[in-house]
Symmetry: C2
Subunit: 232 residues, 2 copies
DNA sequence: GTAGACCCAAAGGTATGACTTATTCAAGCC
DNA sequence: GGCTTGAATAAGTCATACCTTTGGGTCTAC
């Protein structure tokens, strides 16, 4: 999954530095400097920079240097970009953007899942809903988070749409970030758990409208809590 | 925007070859072969392969070679991947996936736009709706397409959500592909144009529900026409 | 004084050879 | 049979040389 080797290391420095605004748009890096600063060869620097270029975060130009591009140009759907932004400054804005995206996508995915889910999918969703109920009652936040992520991933996958399915890691990152940064109540709210059960039941029963409505209530609620909690 | 130089050329060969299934999952490429086949140096091959790796389309492994990864692993939101898939085999599947994504995102974007659009945004949307009406009446498909793309891009941008805004190129690619491959009626349908006007009016009037409903009708209609037209 | 042609230096882009490291596979050993 | 060991292989890294583009300064002509 991760980029391997030295270019990966370099990327792990440059990416977050750019994403956090530490290296603002317009900053000019020079390949030679990067070599010296990180003690790596030309090859390594070039490969890392190429990757950043493919994410539209930098633009290398002859006789000028490697220019950091404005945030609006970045590939905001790239998993690495999302992770970097969630890690540092700009986390709130990223969480809000992702929140809106979830409001758009997850209800649609739930509706599709109610139509197209396989029997295995339905079984899995049912089981996960049970797990959620149990871990919520036990106030076991860690297990609850794991099952919550698995639940949303299962719905996205069951939708049968590959693009929705690929958002599972992103949604997982949002849920993880929310718990890690204590934006969650100490004990999952009962009505939220109840809504998850409703989604599972609606998908199992093949009721797209109900599945969509219940899922929308979940993600709208999550977005509203987010807005209420984030201060910046 | 494009990756420059020789790595870009190499990418323009390898990417489509993988995306189209010409190089199926599990295919093992060797760096040395790629150098010989394309008459470029290791440097160039490595950079191109690194980019493909960052898109999760290949996985270089020592003592093995550069393995093509299964389609399910690819970064399906990467603009290059989308373009490559739209260009060759798998175009239908890509269009369907994108169609569902539009159904999820664009109505939500329209609703947000009705709340948050600036005065300039509203003016632009009004003007574009007029242009759409005129070019549709004149059956000027080329201009109609351009304005259609601009219209949807404007709605996405006016939503104020950066992630929605970034889907404009993707939506544009879908609309372009639809026209290029003659999946469109020779003359834009009147009711479709009327719906675009409704969206613009609703956003100008600040009516999220109406904007969302009208936009949903548009994209659902587009998806249904797509499903009816695509044979594979 | 301004506009244009021209030239040079600076920075990325490419090529290449030597070397390093990880990993697979198989032969050999217990 | 399972474990160790070793050699072969392909990617990974480094250092160096050279190519190509381009921004900017200079010089010239008007």
């Amino acid at each position: 999954m991760e980029i391997q080797g030295l270019p990966g290391r370099l990327l792990a420095h440059l990416g977050p530095a750019i994403a956090s605004g530490e290296l603002p748009a317009g900053t000019v890096l020079r390949a030679e400097e990067l070599e010296a600063q990180h003690g790596v060869s030309r090859t390594v620097v070039r490969e890392a920079v190429r990757i950043l270029e493919s994410m539209r975060m930098v633009e290398p130009r002859r006789r000028v240097g490697i220019t950091v591009r404005p945030r609006g140009d970045w590939d905001v759907f790239d998993p690495l970009v999302i992770r970097w932004r969630l890690a540092g400054a700009g986390r709130s804005e990223q969480l809000r953007s992702l929140g809106s995206l979830r409001v758009a996508v997850e209800p649609a995915a739930a509706a599709l899942a109610a139509r197209h889910a396989s029997d295995d999918d339905r079984r899995e969703l049912g089981a996960l809903a049970v797990e959620l109920t149990v871990t919520a009652r036990a106030a076991d936040l860690e297990s609850f988070l794991a099952h919550d992520i698995a639940f949303h991933a299962a719905v996205l996958r069951a939708s049968g749409n590959e693009m929705f399915a690929h958002l599972k890691d992103t949604v997982g990152a949002v849920l993880t970030g929310r718990t890690e940064h204590h934006l969650m109540p100490h004990r999952p709210r009962d009505y939220a758990v109840q809504l998850h059960r409703e989604v599972a039941e609606a998908i199992c029963a093949g009721d797209p409208e109900l599945a969509e409505r219940a899922m929308r209530t979940i993600v709208v609620g999550a977005l509203e809590e987010l807005d209420a909690t984030l201060t910046d």
